[in-house]
Symmetry: C2
Subunit: 450 residues, 2 copies
């Protein structure tokens, strides 16, 4: 289990392989363009935050069928020998353009565009969507929680209730890009370099006959720890921390206390008062226990003396909005724009670019244009894979993506950074050239097909 362990190309939908066999039989190997985008923002999100790209690109670069994979496909008695043989040489050789991680984006904007023979571009659809959808859902949720905390540290406690180990690991990375300070997940720390944080659990206190003994024993091992004080009664727990400070004198180096249940607002004020009266003004207060963006905002607005928040499940499953209407659609094949006409499901033809227009350091509008256009504003997509190989100059650490997110979220209009739905939302338009192309392709397809 390492960051670079390979993913099997069988993490795909069966139909991708069937279509690939048909493309092979028909000799359809001309370049296809697929766009990954979100059809509309959920009402709970004023912007989305791009995440999930870097680990995905490593996987795409290394996709290989092994003999077990091929033998399994053979056992399905669905595939031709010619197709199965071709899989031994399969490589993903596409070009990929993408918004860098940490970029805020909006409905209909291409987040990733893949140009490859259709069999290759389709095979990776499931993996591309799976990785970018979940990381983006989770980063976008985390961005709200970080905004709500107004500068106080947010720590990720989500690993235990997030859906599976892959999301458990990559969420920590996505959260850190979105501004979360640290994670409790040790493996995520090892794989992705996310700072780690962790204190003690109720069970540790309970396993001791006396809460005070538990605090004494734990601080002997970890003098600068944060002590969990609510196992039995929060304020008695705080008084025991104060008693420990008197016992230890100058050796007392406890960094803080954690409140994990009850009325966190009231308890934080009373805890602060008890600590301050005991001369422990430097002992910080951390809060956790079912927190979410709205409850954190409320605690902050009430001026509660809380120095940091631990957030688990609501961030881990993005409880208010666990999915995005994300699609990966064919937009061109063999040089001609493509679209479907299914009701309510528009896709923008061809390869595209997004230009972000800024005035006085503030983002004011985005314009989606055809890829070859040059327009005012900053282009958001850049090429990250060429012929299936990573372009080294676009490789970056999560620190760079985190700094981008910080800068670009700060540059969004104020109303978008609120937890309330922004009305009007951010302006996203199409360039005249893209609009013309859209009309022309729609007209051609309508004539041809119906």
């Amino acid at each position: 289990m390492t960051a670079s362990s390979r993913m099997s190309p069988l993490f795909t939908d069966l139909y991708e392989l069937k279509m690939a066999q048909a493309y092979l039989a028909e000799e359809m190997h001309a370049p296809a363009t697929f766009s990954l985008f979100v059809r509309s923002l959920p009402p709970e999100r004023n912007f989305l935050l791009a995440a999930g790209l870097d680990p995905l690109l490593d996987w795409l670069e290394d996709l290989r069928f092994n003999e077990e994979d091929i033998a399994f496909l053979d056992s399905l008695e669905s595939f031709s020998q010619r197709y199965l043989d071709s899989l031994r040489d399969f490589r993903f050789e596409g070009d990929v353009w993408a918004m860098p991680e940490g970029t805020p984006f909006f409905a209909e904007e291409p987040l990733i565009e893949v140009v490859a023979p259709p069999a290759q571009a389709q095979l990776v659809e499931t993996l591309v969507m799976n990785q970018v959808h979940s990381a983006t859902v989770l980063a976008s949720k985390a961005a709200r929680i970080v905004l709500a905390a107004e500068g106080r540290a947010v720590v990720d406690f989500g690993a235990r209730r997030i859906h599976g180990t892959d999301a458990g690991l990559k969420s920590a990375r996505a959260y850190h890009i979105a501004g979360v300070a640290a994670t409790s997940n040790v493996l995520a720390g090892r794989l992705y370099g996310v700072p780690l944080s962790g204190t003690m659990a109720h069970s540790y206190v309970q396993a001791h006959d006396d809460e005070m003994d538990a605090f004494r024993a734990f601080t002997r091992e970890f003098p600068e720890t944060i002590l969990l004080v609510d196992t039995y009664d929060t304020l008695s727990g705080v008084r025991k921390v104060i008693a420990l400070a008197r016992e230890l004198g100058e050796d007392f180096r406890v960094r803080g206390v954690r409140l994990d249940s009850g009325d966190l607002a009231t308890l934080s004020f009373e805890t602060r008062r008890l600590l301050d009266e005991a001369g422990l003004g430097s002992v910080e207060i951390f809060a956790s226990g079912g927190l979410d963006d709205v409850s954190i905002r409320d605690l902050v607005r009430r001026g509660c003396p809380i120095d940091g928040f631990g957030v688990g499940t609501s961030m881990g499953v993005s409880a208010d909005s666990p999915r995005l209407d994300m699609a990966y659609k064919l937009t061109a094949y063999a040089g001609s724009g493509r679209m479907k006409l299914s009701s309510g499901k528009r896709s923008l033809p061809g390869r595209k670019q997004v230009f972000r227009e800024e005035r006085g350091g503030r983002a004011v509008a985005d314009r989606i244009a055809r890829a070859e256009e040059s327009r005012p504003g900053r282009p958001l997509l850049r090429r990250v894979l060429s012929g299936g190989r990573r372009l080294e100059e676009t490789r970056e650490g999560i620190g760079a993506a985190r700094e981008r997110a910080r800068r670009e979220i700060a540059a969004l209009p104020e109303s978008l950074r609120s937890l309330e739905p922004a009305d009007p939302g951010y302006e996203v338009g199409l360039s005249p050239a893209l609009r013309d192309h859209l009309d022309e392709v729609a007209e051609r397809v309508r004539k041809q097909q119906i």
Copy 2:
């Protein structure tokens, strides 16, 4: 990437390792009991379906720290050399009792109980919860969708929007246990033996200049396929399938058509009529596109001629209820019952058993009892790991778990099998002996701690 590839023990919360070091320093190696349970059912669920156990047990059996793991922990400058050295010999040696997969269960019932030295039982907390929570969330959602479909096939299309690859794979397994017929995820088929299903995508149709050419080419490769007919206009798509039947004559073996957009009810009736008029009564109709339990129930109740449903995102993220209030709590240490007193968070002390009382083939009530009690009804928990090793007689294939789920869900009271909240819900009580033990432990803890 195989079903049995190892999981690193660093998939844990940092505090588990810190507590483990403290337990080592304090020589606290007596057996601890931890219970995994759900505090309360979400309003959208009348029962939960246990899932996720088998792959978890394989991981627990094989947990080992490698030198890279230990070197990483050393680099944190938090851990003692004695503790780091002890990790080289770490094995999970606990006893584990569990409800078998496919068992319906309710609030407060122990789903899994772990008895092990506290350092071991805590280290696995994150992994146990992560795996059982997500599989149970997803199986419980799938059970509702299968009930709504009233015998029609449900196929899992969720891989692309589910959170990460691990959930993407194990969901298919959990869904199949819950009664879902097949998955589109090829790797899940290979790893877990779940039947596979997959047809064609819009992109394939779009890549061809003509929809009819796409149908012709695809059926040459896969004569018994299901054709996707809504890329441009659903009923023209159906007419092309009919034209293809005329072209191919006796060679026409297309199994069905798939509708993926628009008013599925109306379109299904019109499609059926067109197919029947053309003498294609055996061509089936499959529906997909944003379906969920409620919309499937409505289509079924309206008598729509739909033979099967493809369900993706709403099942993949359990959109109406993506998390459970699941907890893993210390309930005994060194032979004495333990509990915390934090407000609103009761846990039942000691090791326990759940007895399901049945009358005339119907489940009527569950009773949670102390482990050593013998009571009327069928005990639901059984030992699955002994000294960290799997008990071979409790190993079972997903077929057995699927059959159990079918049988036990059918035996639930009628009101619980509806999508509406059951009122009253299922009766779950405590045995008198457990109630006495609860009172006694609460009283002792209250006296000792406050």
